[in-house]
């Protein structure tokens, strides 16, 4: 029996979240003494399979390279995974929108529970996961023969390279033809990915407009080589697109340094960033809840303080 990791990728390269997922699989693999396999399903994605093959701890890469996986639809991917599920005790993916969309479908087809967004592994069948926006941690034990899991990527340090796994081609599954991609509008940015950035500069309603958001935060983010994030309020107000959102229902991040600017600190926002190593808050309201989690708080007018901070770095 082995552990199967579902790779998230863009057909050219692995997404960083896959490395954290392999790390969680490695913990399980060490406890069980079993191999880790990575499934790469895509179109013209041999480079991804090669990248997965050199990850530390990976014993085998299964590659399903076919046009029907170009769009990465949950329906076709789930059918492929279920057809290849034999021999695996655990099927694991990242708790990204990719993994959250896919793994519950896989679990239901296998008639097993799915365990969402685990942040700790107690034993091969017992996992720790956040509930209530991270205000509580539940330890749950699975009675199913196959554990289908998504992994909170910030809770597991990415694996490095050093493996030399064999790449095995596997047959493509059926094209169910249920879903068709119309288009994607992906945010193009030279900045680091939010989920993998060491520093994040994040803005909230206090910035008052999208124009201010970019004018004030981008120079600071440039200085720090930081990713840009936002509170739900800033996204709802249309300052920035949805993919900037950090929080319970947005992205969960844990950078070395998180700078919250004009963010009051609603519970659902804190749920997405309170595991950051160092938190800085800049807010004009000295009683804002964000100061209860911030290591360093600066009370004042962000329109004056942020340019000052940018200049001082």
């Amino acid at each position: 029996m082995s552990i199967l990791v579902i790779a998230e990728h863009d057909h050219a390269a692995l997404k960083a979240a896959t490395l954290n997922t392999v790390a969680a699989a490695a913990q399980l693999g060490a406890q069980l003494g079993t191999e880790i396999h990575v499934l790469v399903a895509g179109a013209n994605c041999a480079a991804v399979a090669q990248a997965a093959a050199v990850l530390a701890g990976v014993a085998r890469v299964k590659l399903a390279d076919a046009p029907l996986y170009a769009e990465q639809t949950a329906e076709n991917l789930a059918a492929l995974i279920v057809a290849n599920a034999g021999g695996y005790t655990h099927i694991i993916g990242p708790a990204t929108t990719f993994g959250k969309n896919l793994l519950p479908r896989v679990a239901a087809l296998l008639d097993v529970a799915q365990i969402s967004e685990i942040c700790g592994i107690e034993s091969p069948d017992t996992f720790i996961r956040p509930i209530y926006a991270g205000n509580a941690l539940a330890t749950v034990k699975s009675a199913d023969a196959v554990k289908v899991i998504t992994v909170r990527t910030t809770a597991f340090d990415a694996v490095g390279q050093g493996g030399s796994a064999a790449v095995e081609n596997i047959a493509a599954g059926p094209d169910l033809g249920l879903t068709q991609l119309v288009g994607r509008e992906l945010t193009k940015s030279a900045r680091p990915e939010l989920g993998a950035a060491k520093v994040i500069v994040s803005g909230g309603r206090g910035l008052a407009s999208g124009e201010n958001f970019h004018k004030l935060l981008e120079p600071l983010a440039d200085k720090l080589n930081a990713a840009l994030g936002a509170s739900r309020a800033a996204v709802d107000a249309g300052f920035v697109p949805n993919d900037y959102q950090v929080g319970q229902t947005g992205k969960i991040v844990a950078p070395q340094l998180y700078i919250a600017i004009g963010i009051s600190g609603a519970i659902q926002h804190l749920a997405g960033m309170k595991d950051s190593k160092v938190i800085v808050a800049i807010n004009k309201d000295p009683d804002a809840p964000i100061f209860q989690v911030a290591d360093y708080g600066l009370v004042g007018d962000l329109f004056q303080l942020v340019p000052e901070l940018t200049a001082a770095l």
């Binding site: 949950a74 929108t97 990719f98 969309n101 896919l102 519950p104 479908r105 896989v106 679990a107 239901a108 008639d111 097993v112 529970a113 799915q114 365990i115 969402s116 017992t126 956040p130 509930i131 209530y132 926006a133 991270g134 205000n135 509580a136 941690l137 539940a138 330890t139 749950v140 699975s142 009675a143 249920l178 879903t179 068709q180 991609l181 119309v182 288009g183 994607r184 509008e185 989920g195 520093v199 720090l224 739900r232 996204v235 709802d236 949805n242 993919d243 229902t249 340094l257 800085v280 000295p286 100061f291 209860q292 989690v293 911030a294 290591d295 360093y296 708080g297 600066l298 901070l309 001082a312």
Partner: protein, 253 residues
């Protein structure tokens, strides 16, 4: 086309939850309950489809204790036409997990034959984000999760989804399952006349056994604890002090 919408009774989002002293779960005694906010968005979307002449009937479904009727009445007041409660006892409801709910909803779909099922993308209590995907799998239907826009035309749904990198638009065959994200719509408030009217709308109560569904939990919760609290730090006087602290004390820049 019938539209089925799923509704979960959860702790109100304004409540600061507390963990029980015996670590068996969350304190629910005397806590305000409400409809899961993502499900309100789902109800709103279904009602708008009816107002647009696309849906012929909106059916709200909930699974759990008798008190879930409150949330179903809310859905009826918001514009759903009728409601179905799949009723369990309190002990079963406490461990009614996503797979079991998906199976119950599938059984309801088999009876009602909706053209579209709309669910919230996740419930704010267990944050599982599974039920819609599982229901789609069990029905063999396409799924469009985390929707920020839904357009129904020519027997298909064109759904814009909020994904990590931005937005993705899918065309999916009907019948299908859609789960709602925050920005799909802004739910209306129930008016008093509509709340009164909702009391007269039909509500069926079924048992899991009548639907032939085994709702036994697959996961056992061993304990629930509070996470380690983050200590509040210090307030700094000015930018110069902040930069000095980040460089010399925290060593992160």
């Amino acid at each position: 086309m019938k539209v089925l919408v799923a509704v979960k009774r959860v702790v109100d989002y304004n409540v600061k939850v507390r963990v029980k002293a015996d670590q068996s779960g969350i304190e629910l005694a005397n806590v305000k309950m409400a409809m899961n906010p993502f499900d309100e968005i789902a109800v709103e979307e279904a009602v708008r489809l009816k107002e647009a002449g696309i849906a012929t009937e909106v059916i709200a479904v909930s699974c759990g204790v008798t008190a879930c009727q409150e949330q179903l009445r809310t859905a009826l007041a918001l514009g759903a036409d009728r409601a179905i409660l799949v009723e369990t006892d309190a002990a079963q409801a406490a461990e009614l997990q996503s797979l079991a709910v998906a199976k119950l909803l599938k059984a309801v779909c088999d009876k009602e034959q909706p053209g579209l099922v709309v669910l919230g993308k996740q419930a704010i209590d267990d944050d599982a984000n599974q039920t819609g995907q599982m229901l789609a799998a069990l029905l063999g239907w396409p799924q469009a999760t985390f929707a920020s826009q839904v357009v129904i035309a020519d027997g298909k749904a064109t759904v814009t989804r909020e994904i990590d990198g931005g937005l993705e638009t899918l065309a999916i065959r009907l019948p299908a399952v859609v789960t709602t994200d925050l920005r799909l719509n802004e739910p209306r408030y129930a008016t008093l006349p509509n709340i009164m009217k909702a009391k007269k709308k039909p509500m069926d109560v079924l048992k899991p056994a009548e639907l032939g569904v085994d709702i036994a939990p697959r996961l056992t919760t061993l304990r629930v604890v509070e996470p380690a609290k983050r200590q509040a730090g210090v307030k700094v006087a000015d930018v110069a002090e902040l930069v000095a602290k980040l460089k010399n004390e925290a060593k992160v820049i």
